[in-house]
C-alpha cells in the first residue's frame, strides 16, 4: 500500500478500481485491523477522519487561543490587574500586542510583562479608573510637563 515513487502515485489516478481503492488505503495505512484491510470499512473511517481533520483545523485555533488567554490571565493575576482592564489599558496606550506576544511575554519574559501591567495600570489611573496598587515607577508625559 505504500508508494515507493512519484510514478506510482501518478498511476493511481484513473478509473481502475485497484488504484482508486489504493488511494483510500494509503490514507488508512496507520489504522488497525479491518479498518485498514477491508475497503468498505476503510472508506467509512477515512471519510470520518477527513471530517475530523476539517473540524480540527478550527478547534486547534480555538484551543491555542484559550491556552494563551489562560496564560495571560495567570500573568495578570500575579500583578493584581484584571484581564479586561489590562487589555483596555494597553489599548489606550496604543500598545497593540496580540495574544501570542502577550502570553509569550507572560511565560518567558516576566519582567517585561510586569512592565506592561504597570503601564496599563498607570494609564487607567490617569484616566480616572479605579486601580488597586498603582505603580510608582512609570513616568508619563503628563508628569514631565
Amino acid at each position: 500500500m505504500v508508494f515507493l515513487s512519484v510514478v506510482n502515485f501518478v498511476r493511481s489516478r484513473g478509473p481502475d478500481e485497484f488504484w482508486r481503492k489504493r488511494k483510500i488505503f494509503r490514507l488508512a495505512a496507520h489504522y488497525i485491523g479491518r479498518r485498514r484491510n477491508c475497503y468498505s470499512v476503510t472508506i467509512k473511517m477515512v471519510h470520518r477522519a477527513l471530517v475530523y481533520a476539517t473540524k480540527g483545523r478550527k478547534l486547534r485555533k480555538d484551543d491555542i487561543r484559550d491556552l494563551r488567554d489562560t496564560r495571560i490571565i495567570a500573568g495578570c493575576d500575579q500583578h493584581d490587574i484584571k484581564y479586561p482592564d489590562f487589555k483596555e489599558g494597553l489599548l489606550r496606550c496604543n500598545i497593540l500586542l496580540n495574544r501570542k506576544s502577550l502570553s509569550d511575554l507572560a511565560a518567558w519574559e516576566p519582567y517585561s510583562f510586569k512592565a506592561l501591567t504597570d503601564i496599563a495600570k498607570q494609564k487607567l489611573q490617569e484616566d480616572g479608573l479605579n486601580v488597586t496598587d498603582p505603580p510608582t515607577n512609570v513616568i508619563t508625559r503628563g508628569m514631565l510637563k
Binding site: 495571560i72 495567570a74 500573568g75
Partner: protein
C-alpha cells in the same frame, strides 16, 4: 547552567504547597479557587500537557458555609450499580457522615472529567479541623487568601464593645422589647 538559572528553573517547576482555611467559605466558590492551584492555572507556564499543578492543604473543612437553603435542599446522588441501588443524601446528612466530603465533591465536580482528574485530586489534602500532620504542614510555603472574611458572631464580642457600638436611636424607657 549558572547558579541563578538553576535556582530559577527549580523555583519555576517545583511543586508548591498551599494552605487554605475553609471556615465560613462557600465550598463551590472555594472549589473554583482551589482548582486554579491544583491544576497550576495560576502559572503563566501552564499547559494542559505539562504537570505543573500544586498541592493544596485545606483546613477546617467541617466549618464550610453553604449558601441559602443548601444544607436542606442540596441532594447528593449515589448508585451502587445494582437494581434499586440509588440513594439520595441531603447535604447536612453527608456532612454529618464525613465533614470533608462536601468540599471534596465540590472540587471534584469543578474540574473537567478526564484521566488526570483523579491524580489531581490526590494533591488535595482535606482536613476537618486544623490538626494537620506536621509532615505535611512542613512543606507549606503559601497561604491562599480566603474569598470572604469570617463573620464575627455576637457572642464573640465583649460586653464593652456591644455597649459602645454606634447606634442611631435609644429606645424610649417605656418601650417593651420582645
Amino acid at each position: 547552567m549558572t547558579t541563578l538559572k538553576r535556582v530559577q528553573q527549580w523555583a519555576t517547576f517545583a511543586r508548591i504547597w498551599h494552605v487554605f482555611d475553609a471556615s465560613w467559605q462557600n465550598p463551590f466558590d472555594s472549589a473554583q479557587l482551589l482548582k486554579k492551584y491544583l491544576l497550576g492555572l495560576y502559572k503563566p507556564i501552564y499547559h494542559p500537557m505539562n504537570d505543573c499543578g500544586d498541592h493544596v492543604i485545606v483546613i477546617n473543612c467541617s466549618d464550610v458555609a453553604l449558601p441559602g437553603e443548601e444544607w436542606k435542599k442540596r441532594v447528593y446522588f449515589h448508585h451502587t450499580g445494582y437494581p434499586g441501588g440509588a440513594s439520595w443524601t441531603l447535604a447536612h446528612e453527608l456532612h454529618k457522615k464525613d465533614p470533608v466530603l462536601i468540599l471534596k465533591k465540590a472540587v471534584y465536580n469543578s474540574m473537567d472529567g478526564n484521566l488526570q482528574r483523579r491524580y489531581t485530586m490526590e494533591r488535595l489534602h482535606l482536613f476537618p479541623d486544623a490538626n494537620v500532620p506536621a509532615k505535611l504542614m512542613g512543606n507549606v510555603s503559601n497561604q491562599i487568601r480566603q474569598i470572604r472574611p469570617i463573620p464575627k458572631r455576637l457572642d464573640h464580642y465583649t460586653q464593652k464593645e456591644i455597649e459602645e457600638y454606634p447606634k442611631l436611636i435609644d429606645y424610649p424607657k417605656d418601650y417593651i422589647l420582645r
